[in-house]
Symmetry: C2
Subunit: 206 residues, 2 copies
Amino acid sequence: MTKHDIPGIVIGRLPLYLRAIQRMAQEGQRVTSSQELGERLGVSAAQIRKDLSQFGEFGKQGTGYNIKYLSAQLRRILNLDGVWDMAIVGAGDVGSALAHYQGFRDRGFQATMIFDKDSGKIGTKIGALAVQDIANMTEIIRQANIKVAMVATPADHAQEVTDQLVEAGVKAILNYAPIQITVPDDVRVEYIDPATHLQKMSYYLE
Amino acid sequence: MTKHDIPGIVIGRLPLYLRAIQRMAQEGQRVTSSQELGERLGVSAAQIRKDLSQFGEFGKQGTGYNIKYLSAQLRRILNLDGVWDMAIVGAGDVGSALAHYQGFRDRGFQATMIFDKDSGKIGTKIGALAVQDIANMTEIIRQANIKVAMVATPADHAQEVTDQLVEAGVKAILNYAPIQITVPDDVRVEYIDPATHLQKMSYYLE
DNA sequence: TAGATTGTTAATCGATTAACAATC
DNA sequence: TAGATTGTTAATCGATTAACAATC
């Protein structure tokens, strides 16, 4: 089984399944079914069973899925057994909010460094992180063996910063800049752009 | 033509097309083709032509699409001719970053109010906005005829806050809380959860 | 006119769902 | 045992792509 045997659209749903069952666990629930999970998430029970069956047999006929077990399996599949260190590029409002955000840790990630090019910001602290000079970024990231980064610069610097991250060995980039960026085949990019989400919805307004 | 004749997946791509051609316009370009646009966005030329053809004929054989014209048409289709006022719920780091964010305006939205329940925050200013008491939210939003809101509360308050927004007449919600929320059929919800994006990518790491 | 590119149809591809035997 | 629910297959549904006549 290579990574590419499984459609990306299936992989994209696994984190949603994980989030939902972790919440169920928090609420003290021990077992769930594809039906219950599907209702919570607004997807069909058949789809959940089919998705999970791509990776193994995690349920039991008649009773459903043990939540702790399924949670552990999903974390294993998604490479979330440890915690991935992340770099943040850009110490504006978005980068700052990301540096403060406490929610990553429980879900397998933590920001360990933040970079900016503004000399007025370099050296200041954002939460627990001191802003570092972007001029040294490539070397520092490579040294620390960081594989995950979040880009929170203005659009017109995003590609340049991305090139440096790739050069430094980063393999997964979460891009907050409202622009498409180009990377080699072995690097993944995901996008977060609130305005595009809002525009999707405004179509249906009025 | 009702709104539901056109697949949501097509609507979801229009903002990306718009973003790309607005950038082209900014760079002084006057005309583009489905091929060029597709290369920029990593989608096929055929898909772009097919998507656009759902709404009309915007191009010219032999030459392509006039950027200003296509941009205006997309804005019209997406209901972006004016500026939609938005409410922000939750004045933590995320709400605060959203309140400061200058990028919405050019893309058809602006935050005009922010609410929190913390009496220590109520009355303080975040950018141009004074934090208001969430206890008065429903009334204030209804009064102002606000149709769009962003939820930036902790997960365990997101549903409660959503119910109030719906009650106040909001029809589009961008939810930053890492939890699925339930709304009536005539209300749209989009989700932003950086951790799920990161988890999608970690599957491919190592 | 020759070259380029659209809008659209038909073919292909892929994803979702329904159904059910297996079995806890 | 009877009831419930899985994992999986086949059928359905929907989205993408290829191809090309129309035409700028």
